[in-house]
């Protein structure tokens, strides 16, 4: 059994004390340095002095994605701007992105998180870590990259796309650990078959997959297709990025880096904290972060926390792989998509109604998004060119907003089903 660092196995009691100590310090710091937190706490009638133990965490107000948007871009940063060395961003619910920042020390803490995930999957400094997550504003690529370098593995920053090239690199460079979204892993399995390349020609031994929902069936397919062990990794940019939680050799729940984050499960309706084992919304508090230490950040991911210890010996709590969302966010090819972002694009487009239906399918292991939009009754559609150009321009606008492509189809007015009250906007046919 291998661990990356001592904290993973420190006794439970010591770990809880460490969490309490860091929580108290963090709350003091955000109260002093983050105006919106000071305001929130003042409004709730809570002072940093009221936070004396882990039990007091539940007294603190939640932070939501909307809060970050309201103080876009840097309103929740708790450090001096001169100490920020990295900015990432993820999709917001409407036009604006959610911006996150890291100090040098934050990057080191984050690299520790992903290093733990890699070591838990069996990687060490002899490995060739093939990172096929996107590099850029998305935290996937650079996040895992940090951990791979930290364990002194040979890090290959392939990034996404060009599957034929990915496979050549995998073969020629001797990649041993693959990191990407599970659906892309399955896509690569198919591409291998088509190219007539046997897994014997590859050196892969394991993979770390995340950034989108998947299932035990997909895991089995990836493991069989590549002849490897497939491990889950969880994270979100607001909290840190990939590595907030990771699977160990037991493949039974994801260990949360408890020394960096405190996880809670709440009832999404009432906000009440639920017992371990009960299903609800995951909430994280960052207790070892300088730039953006969010307090009780509501992830909108549905999960539960495990009771009891893991056979691997880690003292870090385990969470279940998220089983859904409490909002309407979709994860398409690893990218977070909110229907409201699409609606925003439509509202800015002439001759169409903001009546739309998003249908998501998984075709050959790749997600495909179809957006049907009702034309406005006064649209001058008598020429084919009008309809096709409209579809093309909406497709381009959506691609530039979301960063992923969609099939856009104009339909007649009043043909999309209107539900009673709130319209049904999304049909997700993916059988994950």
């Amino acid at each position: 059994m291998k661990y990356f660092d001592f904290n993973e196995v420190i006794p439970e009691k010591v770990l809880r004390n460490l969490q309490a100590e860091r929580l108290i310090e963090t709350v003091k710091r955000v109260y002093d340095r983050v105006a919106p937190y000071r305001k929130k706490m003042d409004e709730a009638g809570i002072s940093p002095d009221d936070i004396k133990s882990l039990d007091d965490l539940k007294k603190l107000p939640f932070t939501e994605k909307q809060d970050l948007r309201d103080s876009y871009p840097y309103g929740y940063f708790a450090c001096d701007m001169e100490d920020v060395v990295r900015i990432h961003a993820s999709s917001g619910t409407t036009g604006k992105q959610t911006v996150v920042g890291y100090t040098e020390r934050d990057l080191d803490v984050w690299a520790t998180d992903t290093a733990r995930a890699l070591v838990a999957a069996g990687a060490d400094n002899t490995d060739f870590v093939h990172v096929s997550y996107g590099y850029g504003l998305f935290t996937g690529g650079l996040g895992v990259n940090g951990g791979a370098e930290k364990i002194k593995a040979k890090t290959i920053p392939v990034s996404v796309g060009n599957t034929a090239r990915q496979i050549n690199i995998m073969k020629d460079f001797g990649s041993t650990v693959l990191c990407c979204t599970p659906s892309y892993a399955l896509y690569m399995v198919e591409a291998l078959k088509e190219a007539g390349i046997s897994t014997d020609e590859l050196s892969l031994k394991c993979g770390i997959f995340g950034a989108e929902p998947w299932s035990e069936n997909m895991r089995a397919e990836i493991e069989k297709g590549f002849g490897i062990k497939a491990y889950d990794i969880y994270g979100l940019s607001e909290v840190m990025g990939p590595g907030v939680a990771y699977e160990c050799c037991e493949q039974d729940g994801l260990h949360i880096s408890d020394d960096h984050f405190i996880a809670e499960i709440i009832d999404p309706e009432t906000g009440e904290v639920l017992e371990d084992g009960q299903e609800g919304e995951l909430v994280f508090t960052c207790i070892d972060k300088e730039a953006l230490p969010l307090i009780r950040y509501r992830t909108r991911d549905v999960s539960y926390l495990y009771k009891g210890e893991c056979a691997c010996g880690r003292s870090f709590k385990r969470m279940a792989r998220p089983m859904g969302r409490t909002d309407d966010m979709l994860i398409i090819r690893g990218v977070n998509v909110f229907p409201s972002q699409i609606e925003q694009v439509l509202l800015e487009t002439e001759h169409i109604l903001a009546q739309y239906l998003i249908t998501v399918d998984r075709v050959d292991n790749l997600d495909r998004m179809l957006i049907e939009i009702e034309m406005s009754p006064d649209a001058p559609f008598d020429a084919v060119r009008f309809v096709e150009e409209k579809e093309r321009s909406i497709r381009a606008a959506i691609e530039s907003t979301l960063g992923i492509s969609a099939v856009v189809k104009l339909v007649s007015p009043k043909t999309l089903a209107r539900g009673e009250g709130k319209a049904k906007r999304v049909i997700d046919n993916r059988n994950i």
């Binding site: 009754p377 006064d378 559609f381 008598d382 020429a383 309809v387 007649s412 009043k414």
Partner: protein, 143 residues
Amino acid sequence: MYVKQISVFIENTKGRLADITSVLAKGSIDIRALSLADTTNFGILRLIVDRPFDAEKMLKESGFTVSVTSVIAIGIEDRPGALAEALKILEEGDISVEYLYAFISKTSGKASVILRVDDGDKAVEMLVNGGITFLSDKDIIEI
């Protein structure tokens, strides 16, 4: 010069064309000319009828997506080369044709051509100068 054309947007589902023509039949609308543009995803049925506004109303009431557009209607002789001459005039004026369809009149023996171009007024001017005869809504009814 300009005549009214009815366009109906058709998603590619079975039986839609039959449905549209049944509505028109029920309303005793006489179809003078039609053309169907088809793509893989949708079709556009364009119609010249005797009572365009009645037709529009009936189709809308039956739930179809309808738009009424003004298109140019010209009458040319029914002989080889007549259409080419008319189109040459437009080409010289650098006018692009979006779509076009033609039919033969029973009574006059002339060919009628329905045109949609990118610059309608310029096209009309060029055609007038080129000595082309136009058809009106009234002419269409009498075809």
